[in-house]
């Protein structure tokens, strides 16, 4: 098989077993106990043992509960009778969530479906959540965000339109992101109206109540820039906030085309919106909850709930500093087989346990989508040309 094994550290396995031996959840390991420890606390030895254990358990869980996933593993010749080294467990390409209805729970238990358009056009990914999985996402997200807010629920200004979250059964990735984060705030206020224009009255009321205290702003990077910063700049206005943190994600692609880099972004948001700290996050709808936050060094960090592997084109494991295709692992997904994914993003592993910010775990950089291949051959001559 092609997943070239890394030398997995087995040393910390007993400790990990103990950690996992609490009351168990769905897949045969206990993720809940991790909620009690600081989210960036596990070092390589402990974490790799924990992940090997947990990913094997999750793989068995989805194998037993999702028929398509079972077919895939059987086709690849993966036997679940033996314990696999972490890097040998096959990731699922994210595109498959667009092509198949992948569930590991009874259809009737699905309480929420997340959708995302993703990379290849019209087809949408569908992520099915049952109550347990949805609840876990919320708790883990809260735990990770608490690492920047200190744990207190802060007044929250969402830089988006409430129109995005109207349908409560079927969420777009954007809507799901907003609702997920909104649960972590108090006095949740939408800064934009239905037409994506600044809602001056709402913003004024929010700022009046919370001008001095710490507040949290949340939004998608491109929307914050386009619909908040640029509009304020053009009017010569500023938000009268003194202690705001901005949590933003969704990628830099749109801003890069306007030559806006993270440093520029942070600087402008500080001047115009009183954002003392802008924190970028990376995440995918297929692994909602276990998001990756950027630290003060600008590095994206795996929390205790997630891990990554960067792979070369032949799927061997890339060295630190070498770019490749990003594989993402999350301890959360139980109602759909999204615990081990092959993304279509290009990333570079920067290091593990030794970031200057002090967080344990792997840290990395995402460059964007893996570049489109030059498609050779003889089809679609007129439409494409």
């Amino acid at each position: 098989m092609a997943y070239n094994a890394s030398s997995d550290v087995r040393g910390g396995r007993t400790a990990a077993r103990e950690r996992l031996s609490g009351a168990n959840a769905v897949a045969g390991f206990d993720v809940a106990s991790l909620l009690d420890v600081a989210p960036y606390s596990l070092d390589h030895v402990t974490k790799s043992a924990l992940f090997a254990e947990a990913m094997n358990a999750l793989t068995r869980h989805h194998f037993s509960h999702c028929p398509q996933y079972r077919s895939m593993l059987e086709f690849l010749g993966i036997s679940l009778d033996t314990h696999h080294v972490l890097a040998d467990l096959p990731p699922l390409p994210v595109r498959l969530f667009k092509e198949f209805e992948l569930l590991s729970c009874p259809r009737k238990d699905v309480i929420k479906t997340l959708t995302s358009s993703g990379t290849s056009g019209q087809q949408v990914s569908r992520i099915y959540l049952d109550r347990t999985n949805a609840g876990l996402q919320t708790r883990v997200l809260a735990r990770i965000v608490a690492s920047i807010t200190g744990g207190a629920r802060l007044p929250m200004l969402i830089v988006d339109s409430p129109a995005v979250v109207r349908d409560r059964q079927l969420f777009s990735a954007r809507g799901a992101g907003i609702l997920g984060f909104a649960m972590l705030g108090t006095d949740v206020t939408y800064a934009l109206d239905e037409q994506m224009r600044l809602d001056h009255a709402a913003i004024a009321a929010f700022c009046e109540s919370h001008a001095d205290g710490p507040v949290l702003l949340f939004g998608f990077t491109a929307i914050v820039w386009q619909h908040l910063y640029k509009v304020l700049r053009d009017k010569g206005e500023k938000l009268p906030l003194r202690d705001a943190s901005l949590l933003h994600g969704g990628g830099w692609k749109k801003l890069a085309s306007q030559a806006v880099d993270p440093v520029t972004f942070d600087g402008r948001l500080r001047e115009t919106c009183g954002v003392a700290r802008a924190i970028n996050y990376y995440g995918m709808v297929e692994q909602t909850g276990s998001i990756f936050l950027a630290c003060s060094e600008g590095h994206l960090h795996c929390s205790n709930f997630s891990d990554i592997i960067v792979r070369r084109s032949d799927f061997s494991i890339a060295d630190i500093g070498e770019s490749g295709t990003l594989q993402l692992m999350s301890l959360l997904p139980t109602s759909y087989p999204g615990h081990n994914l092959l993304s279509e993003d290009e990333a570079t592993l920067l290091g593990e346990d030794d970031c200057r910010c002090g967080r344990k775990g792997r840290y990395f950089h995402v460059a964007g989508r893996i570049s489109q291949a030059e498609i050779r051959g003889c089809s679609d001559t007129y439409r494409a040309a």
Binding site: M1, A2, Q68, S71, M72, E74, F75, L76, G77, L92, P93, R95, L96, E99, F100, S313, D314, F315, G324, T325, L342, E344, E346, I370, S371, Q372, A373, I375, R376, G377, C378, S379, D380, T381, Y382, R383, A384, A385
Partner: protein, 354 residues
């Protein structure tokens, strides 16, 4: 630019002379008039072949090239301009227009309304788009739609093949497939072993291909993700009818089919992804071949037996049987059409009886 060299080699005087002799009877023929060619966006030299086919059939040619500025197109068209500037080929120059314009139905409709023949290089969707634009009543249309191709390997001929010959065969197989990411209509997706090969022979062949791939092919991340996604999709969709044979460290995927499905032509591997089938009987192919099937490449099987397979079973598809290595060799006979005759008219002259 290997493809430009291939074209240059094809239009060398000796080859054109060979064609002239082969079509000697065509002295009784004239071109249709003005042809409009719609050429593919992703095979840059195709426009040049299409143009020469039109010219050899005796026509004036308007050739729409893709909007994308391929270096191959620039190289060929600037060479053409230089040759025309010499003034020695005025007749040909006046019958030549290489056009580049963005997709625009109005322009294509205007050009279509004036031509005596239209040549459309496919993609079924392109053909559907262009067909909406009417032609004059007498005009003919030649379309090259999406096709499906396969390879037949004779197992017994391959047993004990010397290493050098095996390597050559692998190299040719590579040229038919990886060179165009298996995206060309004539690139094989299915490898049909006639007679069940022994394990060693089969492994020797594929390992030889893998070596050529390692030395020559750029395994790009997006291609690899695409290929791996296809593999897992097949795991679900071919449930029970397929087994994964090998992944060759990701350089080459092989999926063995237990039976040839009726919609075999839907199984299109790309970037080095092959479906294999073992059979004692060539005729096993007959039930699955549809009009979509175009090229059959072969090694170690007699072309006569393959001809008999197609004609004896009156198959609706497979119109090209060539040795492994020649899948991509575009020629004046293509997709079952005799292009020269299709793009010209025959003047029948009967003597008087008295």
């Amino acid at each position: 630019m290997v493809d430009v060299m291939t074209f240059a080699f094809w239009i060398r005087p000796a080859n054109l002379e060979r064609l002239r002799r082969a079509f000697a009877e065509c002295d009784e023929r004239l071109g249709l008039g003005v042809l409009l060619h719609i050429t593919p966006s992703n095979v840059p030299v195709n426009f040049a072949f299409s143009y020469v086919f039109g010219l050899l059939a005796g026509n004036a040619n308007m050739v729409r090239v893709p909007s994308r500025t391929w270096p191959q197109i620039t190289a060929i068209s600037s060479t053409m301009s230089r040759v025309f500037e010499s003034g020695d080929h005025e007749q040909v120059r006046r019958r030549t227009a290489i056009l580049r314009y963005p997709r625009n139905d109005k322009i294509t409709a205007d050009l279509s309304a004036q031509c005596s023949g239209r040549v459309v290089w496919g993609g079924d969707s392109t053909i559907a788009d262009i067909r909406r634009l009417p032609l004059p009543p007498r005009a003919v249309e030649l379309v090259f739609a999406d096709r499906y191709s396969l390879c037949v390997l004779g197992a017994s001929a391959m047993t004990s093949l010397p290493d050098k010959v095996m390597h050559q065969l692998a190299r040719r197989f590579y040229n038919d497939t990886y060179l165009v990411d298996q995206n060309a209509c004539s690139s094989p997706h299915l490898v049909f072993w006639n007679h069940v090969p022994d394990e060693e022979t089969e492994a020797r062949f594929w390992n030889a291909v893998e070596r050529v791939v390692r030395d020559n092919y750029a395994l790009e991340p997006i291609k690899q993700v695409d290929k791996y996604t296809r593999l897992l999709r097949d795991a679900v969709e071919l449930d029970g009818n397929a087994a994964l044979c090998a992944r060759h460290q990701e350089y080459l995927y092989r999926v063995r089919l237990k039976a040839l499905p009726n919609d075999m032509e839907a199984l299109r591997g790309r970037y080095g992804y092959f479906y294999e089938y073992h059979s004692e009987h060539l005729d096993d192919l007959a039930p699955v071949v549809t009009s979509r099937y175009q090229t059959l490449t072969y090694f170690g099987v007699s072309p006569e037996s393959l001809r008999d397979l197609v004609i004896g079973n009156r198959l609706s598809g497979i119109d090209r049987i060539v040795p492994v290595g020649r899948a991509l060799d575009l020629d004046v006979t293509w997709d079952g059409y005799d292009i020269i005759r299709s793009l010209s008219r025959f003047i029948s002259v009967s003597g008087s009886d008295s």
